[in-house]
Symmetry: C2
Subunit: 324 residues, 2 copies
Amino acid sequence: MDEFEFIKSIQQKSYVQPSLIKGIGDDAAVFRQSYQDTVMAVDTFVENIHFSRKTMHPFHVGYRVLAANISDMAAMGCDPAYYLISIVIPESWAEDELSEIYRGMKEIATEYKMDLIGGDTVSGNELVISVTIVGFVAKGSSRYRSSAQDNDKVFVTGTLGDSAAGYYLLTNESDGEIGGYDYFVNRHRMPKPRIAFAKWLESLSRISLNDISDGIGNEAAEIAEASKVSIHLDYSKIPYHHDLEYFTQEQQKKWKLFGGEDFELIGTVSEKEWPLVVEAGKQTNTKVTEIGYVKDNVHSNNSVFLYEDSKVTKLDKLGYTHLK
Amino acid sequence: MDEFEFIKSIQQKSYVQPSLIKGIGDDAAVFRQSYQDTVMAVDTFVENIHFSRKTMHPFHVGYRVLAANISDMAAMGCDPAYYLISIVIPESWAEDELSEIYRGMKEIATEYKMDLIGGDTVSGNELVISVTIVGFVAKGSSRYRSSAQDNDKVFVTGTLGDSAAGYYLLTNESDGEIGGYDYFVNRHRMPKPRIAFAKWLESLSRISLNDISDGIGNEAAEIAEASKVSIHLDYSKIPYHHDLEYFTQEQQKKWKLFGGEDFELIGTVSEKEWPLVVEAGKQTNTKVTEIGYVKDNVHSNNSVFLYEDSKVTKLDKLGYTHLK
């Protein structure tokens, strides 16, 4: 199979998005969007840095790289619509494995009603997958990190630390019975970005949102810095799956605060609109937990503070920083 | 400099595109485009496959990867507006060289009034640059390869074979004086996509367009196949720079037909609207040359024929095919 045949094999037979005018097959794709804003992001994944065959089947690699991008759309409060895939393929990846990567992407794309509208396929020495994602949102309704204000409540969706626990289970021999093995592994391999929940919040007058890819410490810090406020988190309130208690206190803490890759959302909202966030959780079957509050105080702004028992610590950006 | 500082260093201080709502700095970029169609493409470049330090300074690497993408926008008849850069950085590239790559991109982005609105920066073992480009075009005015019809005239812009000649000069010791050394090298390193020309054609009722990245044989074949017609090219009419005559007949022919990377346009247009194409060339200072015609005949469709002296040959897709 040469490049042309391969591209043909991954091409969709039909498209679901009504705004699409031209999909794959010319110099570029074309769509028309007159009534909403367009939202776009790019994310790149390198083998053995962002994923590994040790913990993922090729199907999961595809599923998860697209999930990470869809999660960015959730963090913007928008609906994902299109994706484009650039892939650098080394000799070590067989054709059927590549097809599995695309099958994984197609699986999650179908769940979220997205179309593959372009890409590029080249050879190289290591597998690199670069995803461009496009979404739409009601005009002026994008959710930014810079919208947090004094006295906002801070909340998160779902449970934290699951993905890191899954990764740990996949890379370590477990001594004894671990409850929730399948649950944690599945959360690591096939995360479900919170699109429905974020979309339900569209009517709120103000909300800040960020998705948890690098760990809640880092994501909260991004909101604090963009909004020029401080964020105060209560460690005892951070939600986790009950089976996380099979692990040591130290592991639990590390994973909940810095594990990342759960692709849940952290947000801040006024006390007045907080009931709407709770309602969004109910309507979209999304667990929502209040975990802290926002303060605008010149002495503490741009920082994140963690309250645990009687101690207060300042959370640093301990998320994984690429590039040297 | 860590990832965050590097991203900060390449961030634009201000943006020129009026449709932009949010540039770099959140989970995604946002723009609003109510009156035009949006056009999008992705292209990926791997060191030592698509470019090499032997023939390019880092500045040219940046200039040229973006030029290739802008050329796709020209082939769609649209105006480039935004770009997003994903880059995989190996240890072997120093920070000042990376800055030069971005300076090269910024140079051509400024020429074409484009904004850098996003990207991703990760480490890896080989340099990979993936460009996402976004452009706008009047509703319904995108130019497709599938629009060629019986009796259309076939034309190209500029001169062909220049980039291949430049590459040859950069990779071979020249025995004797070669005229046009700087010209050819510059055409290889800093091609100028034909946006102004393609935009001028917006009022035409019908035109097929493709950009010449892989060689005219391949690009003509793409139009022939998409339009289900045959294309007939007169070799003696293919335009070239007079200094190409310093090279052998064999070299000239190979470069003109299969060199590619000149990022000129090949198109087909009805006889009736041909004068408008000639006028577009005059208005935008673009050399335009008629080089053949289109036939819709069931026995020869999907093929490209080359007429040279008294011989007719069928041109195959001899463009560079990636992936095995």
